[in-house]
């Protein structure tokens, strides 16, 4: 089976900032991957590279066996949302604008587009929420609408950029379990950037740490260790366990 995501010898970055240096990486289909790492390590840049928006200076990036490029079908993307920058529209308008938003012409939805939108909203139980202005929704409700949007076009790969930021712990858990449910139901591959590993522990199959130009991909117990994190953070780190939870602390 082709890999969902495959990086071969990838070097990626901007002038004066290297995000990845000669990285090989393979994500299998149907995996739920938590993506973690220090601030500014390039987690978002990595997702943008998978979308084909940033080109690697060396190496190849393949998504389901084809070179990454913008506008590819089969990828659902949820960019990081800046609170306060929310447009004054309803959720359903947002979905309608994005579906077929690449075609020129007037913004009317076809019957086919309407049924696709209804399907996506139904997957995350957001049909009623989508009728309300986005600004009136709570953080958790808004994420459900935006996850529905990422499902438009029936993607096989979901790239989620900090879908849990600005949510309280209860809503974080709800969004994680929702993501796990739809991932299982629709057999999706998911790459999800998060800040706190412990919140996504129940959902992830493996974790991908990005830092210092390197990546570490593996089971939680293989990656979340003092030596590995020390290398990625460029500072001595100890991992302290408390029951299921793990905490990285400065050594």
């Amino acid at each position: 089976m082709t890999q969902a995501v495959e990086l071969r010898g990838v070097t990626l970055g901007f002038p004066g900032c290297t995000v990845l240096r000669d990285v090989d990486l393979a994500v299998q289909q149907g995996e739920f991957l938590g993506v973690l790492g220090p601030n500014g390590a390039g987690k978002t840049t990595l997702l943008r590279a998978l979308l084909g928006l940033v080109r690697p200076s060396v190496g190849t990036i393949e998504i389901f066996g084809a070179t990454a490029q913008p506008g590819r079908s089969g990828i659902g993307y949820l960019p990081q949302t800046r609170p306060g920058a929310l447009p004054t529209v309803r959720g359903i308008d947002l979905l309608a604008a994005s579906l077929g938003g690449t075609r020129w012409g007037l913004p009317f939805s076809s019957a086919e587009a309407k049924s696709e939108i209804a399907w996506a909203l139904d997957q995350v139980d957001a049909t009623a929420l989508a009728q309300r202005p986005l600004a009136q929704l709570s953080g958790g409700e808004r994420q459900r609408v935006l996850i529905a949007q990422a499902l438009l076009g029936r993607p096989r790969l979901l790239l989620l950029d900090e879908p849990l930021s600005n949510l309280d712990p209860r809503h974080q858990r709800a969004v994680v379990s929702l993501l796990r449910d739809i991932q299982q139901k629709l057999s999706l591959t998911v790459l999800c950037i998060v800040h706190d590993l412990n919140v996504v522990l129940p959902a992830v199959d493996r974790v991908l740490y990005v830092g210092n130009g390197h990546v570490a991909l593996g089971k939680v117990d293989e990656v979340v260790t003092g030596p590995v994190l020390s290398l990625l953070y460029g500072a001595p780190i100890d991992v302290v366990r408390s029951g299921e939870y793990r905490f990285a602390v400065a050594a």
Partner: protein
């Protein structure tokens, strides 16, 4: 005595009506994209163009159209949020206004000519200007209709649109170019200093009143028409400047939408 008995009033209604429709539609996207201030600044850029045209003995409307449209496309080309950066825009605005002043100084223009450029002279619109406004308005609406779908997507969620392969930069250049045209038209009615009243006030009020996209665009056009035609009518009966009435109605509409929202939030 009816306003329709006078040719200058029929011309004024036609000019205000055409400008209101285009400004209502284009303004919706402008406000949605957070580029209201950029639209305002394009009026000032156009002022320098109009004054420069006068200096060289060319029609001021032509100078206004060329320079504000070109300026808009340049802003779109510079991209990366330039059109949303207040300091940069403010400096362009001040610089263009000063340049216009210099040109008018060389031209030794009468004060009335400067006032007409700055504050509009809708009651003095001639048939030639009306035809120009008709073509500019039709062209603007056709281009907006052509780009409406990707423009809406790129305005609501630029990162996502880019990932879907929408050419966000090209859209930005096209859109701000269109805004330059709309500004040139609106300046014929309310002048370069008050284009905000037709371009931004109705659209902002409509966006406060309803979250539905198509309803908001229709409402924006309706409010702009009410402003433009109502302002011209009030000017006829009061003998106060039309630009004053149009702007006053725009501020009143926005204030009403603001109050309605505030009261709804309080209840």
């Amino acid at each position: 005595m009816s306003p329709f008995d006078f040719e200058f009033m029929r011309n004024a209604y036609a000019a205000a009506g055409m400008v209101a429709v285009t400004a209502g539609v284009a303004g919706y996207f402008l406000v949605l994209r957070g580029q209201s201030f950029a639209g305002h600044a394009l009026g000032h850029v156009g002022f320098a163009g109009a004054a420069g045209a006068l200096l060289f003995g060319l029609p001021p409307l032509a100078g206004l159209i060329v320079v504000s449209t070109g300026g808009g496309m340049m802003m779109g080309l510079l991209g990366e949020g330039v059109a949303e950066r207040d300091v940069g825009i403010g400096l362009v605005l001040a610089g263009a206004l000063a340049l216009g002043l210099l040109f008018l100084g060389f031209f030794t223009a009468s004060a009335s000519q400067a006032t007409a450029l700055l504050f509009g002279n809708v009651l003095g619109v001639d048939a030639h200007t009306l035809w120009a406004l008709l073509w500019v308005s039709l062209f603007t609406l056709v281009v907006l209709a052509f780009m409406a779908r990707p423009l809406l997507f790129a305005s609501l969620q630029p990162e996502l649109a880019e990932a879907h392969g929408v050419r966000v930069r090209l859209l930005s250049v096209m859109f701000l170019g269109v805004i330059g045209l709309v500004v040139a038209g609106a300046a014929q009615v309310v002048g370069v200093l008050l284009v905000f009243s037709l371009l931004v006030a109705p659209a902002a009020a409509a966006q406060r009143a309803t979250p539905r996209v198509l309803t908001a665009i229709a409402l924006s056009v309706a409010l702009a028409l009410a402003e433009g035609l109502g302002g011209v009518t009030l000017a006829f009966y009061t003998d106060w400047p039309a630009s004053f009435w149009i702007t006053a109605l725009g501020v009143a509409f926005y204030g009403a939408a603001f109050m309605a929202k505030w009261r709804a939030a309080r209840d």
